[in-house]
Amino acid sequence: MKKLKKDPLNLIIIGVAGQGNVVISMLTCNALLREGYLVTFGQTYGANQRGGPVMNYVRVSQEIQCSPLLPDGTADVILALEPVEALRMLAKYGNPNVTTIVNPRPIISIDAARGDSPYPDLDTLTQAIKDLSAKTWLINATEEAQKLGNPIVANVILAGALIGSGILPLDKKAMETELRERFPRAIDLNMRAFNRGIELVSA
């Protein structure tokens, strides 16, 4: 078990319900548990199966069992499957040292569709995210997943980017073990997606 650079390490994985952010949070948490860390994986989600934001809070420590929610302004990494959701999380948990990994593909909310709450211009939005982060990776995960044959693996591409970024005390092998356990039948596609994510942050 590697010593954490900061204890606890706070990771937020955010997306819109249905994007598969819980799955990649689970993979990450299980890999961290296997390494021997104290892991807390809290969630906030609404009553809906689809459409609303789903926040996953992954907290890693060698000292305490962390609480399900982190203190405001203390995120170390924000992994967002949707760009507005990245900014939503920065507003509460961001700080000058935060790293953001963002899939810039918008999912238009019904509030935006109705004209009640306009969806921002994408370039302005991504610039705001960059301005508020110490380091930002924009990963076109949905597009890359479609190229691999199924948009559903966008989440696994982002999991690859997360591991490739080197922020977590986890290596590639640790996550591969989890992927093999979680997706025994669709392992080829998921492994390609995972490796593509690693490539995209290394480029």
Binding site: A47, P71, P96, Y119, P120
Partner: protein
């Protein structure tokens, strides 16, 4: 879901508090588990049901919480350790039974698990169930982490047996539904054999005094319970008394503020009755006490009650908490709430991030963070049903409206196009509509439509429907039958033909029950929008009395697991008049499906291929016939998607 019967004592797993509770029951040798789905408790029963056959135990989804509690009680009386599991609202349903049960005692260990939803995030109301324990005299524990969720559940069976009364565990969503480290214990081998001891006999309501003796015995045990602990200096500037998830929040706030040598933390796990000698001893540690707990000031008031009986020599600390306004008496808490309270009480100014960043991020968020209301899933049959009801009420006039109960279809205004006007409890849709339907004698002439789900129908709607027939109410009830308890995770119910353990089960037909009660019944497929709307209009305009329309269409998320979408849907950019159409973006603005978007470059509607579920319902919504559906084939998928995109490019080029 993990296999919670893994026989590996000493192993550490990453499980939800709920899975910990299920494991705790197994480690206690539970033989009978009954529940009704309700988030945040929903994962407990499935975790037990999954391993039930292997463990030689029984697990079931009951028709409602009352029946769950009654069944579990019977098993306890027959000598089998039993558990009943529910969310906060379930305890309300059970309260009458519980109020009687506590007067009479139990057989083998009987435990009630209640998961509260501070927030609320997944509930129609916010409620603290702990006062029920005080109100009905039930010993109560509350776990402060995931390990305790397991350990307390296990121990409660012993306690219940020893003092011969039902015992209760209250947990909150942020423990129940959060995963954390849990170290597993031994699994006993139990051969369950049921036999009712005739010596139990019938007893009237006399033994209330006996119950108080049982409570005193529980309190005595709580005095030395390992579930209560103190961390901090012998003399502290501030003592924080916390329980549940609030304990974790408090611990973290103190650690982050580096106040470990000034602030003492008293974690309480035995909540009712409070161990008074233990509390008194620790109250001497500081002259200031802050209570951190979720929803009601339950421990706060308990300690105040205790201190009120202490002699003038004390201890009489100054209390901070909900009464003083330092901790809100609603919503879920977090470490920042505790930091703010400590700052205020101790005159500190600890900030978790710098002020300049704070200002900048808040300004940018205000400009660019769009709202994201939850809504029905793409392809949800309830959306089509609501659209048809909405249209029918528009066509029939007279300010018609809907009264709903609890389920995906009940989630307020947006999903139902604003027609849902009341939203109370399980069965509250037909119950309230039934009342409106009796007001014709006072000049009431508005059409009322009661909304009810399939699982809800069995749970609580049948008495309301019988009353409507018996008392001559004029009411239309729509049953959104999607063949699952979808909102809580697709659990089976009496209409699905299978049970919690995955076995085939008898089916109770909603249609047959409604007909037997004496209602007029019609079955519609909500995806046939026009036919369904016409049926509803006919029901509202031409029929009177108790009418039931059953919307028969499987939950989209279940269908999607099994098969490809029915249609490939796209917008024909030549037919879509876009911003020039008189519809004013009708499909986006009014129908509100997340799969329908607007292309700002072309100024026309578009389908988001990634989100669209291919139900094809929007085809009938576009006033200009610009949305096209084609039967889905694996090959066709490519073809249609390309066709749509090429057309878009052409239009954009013009």
């Amino acid at each position: 879901m993990p296999d919670i019967d893994v026989n590996a004592p000493g192993t550490t797993v990453l499980w939800m508090g709920n899975e910990g509770i299920a494991r705790g029951a197994l480690e206690a040798g539970v033989g009978f588990a009954s529940a009704y789905p309700g988030t945040p408790s929903s994962e407990i029963l499935p975790a037990i049901a999954e391993v039930a056959k292997r463990m030689g135990i029984y697990a079931e989804w009951a028709v409602n919480e009352m029946v769950a509690m009654e069944s579990a009680t019977a098993a306890s009386l027959a000598g089998i350790r039993s558990i009943a599991i529910m969310k906060q609202n379930g305890v309300n349903v059970v309260s009458d039974f519980l109020a009687n049960l506590v007067m009479r005692g139990i057989g083998k260990g009987l435990v009630l698990i209640c998961a509260d939803d501070p927030g609320p995030h997944n509930s129609s109301n916010e409620q603290d169930t702990r006062p029920v324990a005080k109100w009905l005299d039930i010993p109560l524990l509350e776990p402060g982490d995931f390990q305790e969720a397991k350990d307390m559940t296990k121990w409660l069976f012993d306690l219940a047996e020893e003092i011969n009364t039902i015992c209760m565990l209250r947990t909150v969503g942020k423990i129940a539904h959060t995963r954390g480290n849990i170290k597993l214990g031994e699994l006993p081998v139990v051969e369950h054999k049921a036999h009712f001891a005739a010596s139990y006999g019938f007893r009237g309501a006399g033994p209330h005094a006996e119950l108080h003796k049982k409570l005193a015995k529980a309190q005595e045990k709580f005095e030395s319970s390992p579930f209560n602990l103190y961390i901090g200096p012998d003399k502290a500037e501030l003592l924080i008394i916390a329980c549940g998830a609030s304990w974790l929040y408090s611990q973290e706030a103190v650690r982050l503020m580096n106040l470990q040598d000034k602030v003492g933390l008293l974690k309480m796990g035995t909540i009712y009755p409070l161990p008074e000698k233990f509390m008194e001893k620790h109250l001497k540690k500081a002259s200031k006490v802050l209570f951190v707990e979720e929803v009601h000031p339950f421990v706060e008031q308990g300690v105040m009650e205790l201190v009120g009986t202490l002699p003038p020599s004390g201890p009489h600390p100054v209390f901070y908490g909900k009464r003083s306004g330092h901790i809100p008496a609603y919503g879920d808490l977090d470490p920042s709430v505790v930091i703010k309270a400590i700052n205020s009480i101790m005159g500190l100014n600890y900030q978790t991030r710098d002020a300049e960043y704070d200002k900048k991020v808040k300004a940018l968020a205000q400009s660019y963070v769009t709202a994201r209301s939850g809504t029905l899933c793409p392809g949800c049959p309830h959306k089509a049903s609501h659209w048809a009801i909405h249209r029918a009420l528009q066509l029939t006039g007279h300010e018609g409206f809907g009264t709903s109960d609890i389920g995906c279809y009940g989630g307020g205004g947006v999903g139902s196009f604003g027609i849902t006007k009341t939203h109370f409890c399980m069965g509250g849709g037909i119950g309230v509509a039934n009342g409106f339907g009796k007001l014709g004698r006072f000049g009431f002439d508005q059409p009322v439509v009661a909304f009810c789900g399939d699982s809800t129908f069995y749970h609580a709607a049948i008495p309301g429907l019988i009353d409507a027939v018996y008392n001559g109410s004029n009411v239309l009830m729509v049953i959104f039958d999607n063949s699952a308890t979808s909102m809580t995770g697709f659990q089976p119910h009496p209409g699905t033909g299978r049970n919690a353990m995955g076995e085939p089960a008898a089916t109770v037909s909603i249609e047959a029950v409604c007909k037997a009660i004496g209602a007029q019944v019609v079955i519609c497929d909500p995806f046939e929008l026009k036919k369904t709307t016409d049926t509803l209009v006919d029901m509202i305009e031409n029929k009177t009395g108790v009418r039931v329309v059953i919307m028969d269409r499987e939950c989209e998320l279940i269908r999607a697991r099994r098969e490809e979408p029915p249609y490939r849907v796209y917008v024909d950019p030549e037919k879509c008049l876009g911003e020039d159409c008189g519809c004013d973006m009708f499909c986006n603005r009014v129908f509100l499906c997340t799969g329908l978007t607007w292309n700002r470059q072309t100024g026309k509607a578009e389908i988001d291929d990634v989100i669209c579920a291919g139900c094809g319902v929007c085809v009938d919504v576009c006033p200009h016939g610009a949305i096209i559906k084609e039967p889905y084939t694996a090959k066709g998928k490519e073809k249609v998607a390309v066709k749509g995109k090429e057309k878009l490019k052409e239009v954009a080029a013009r």
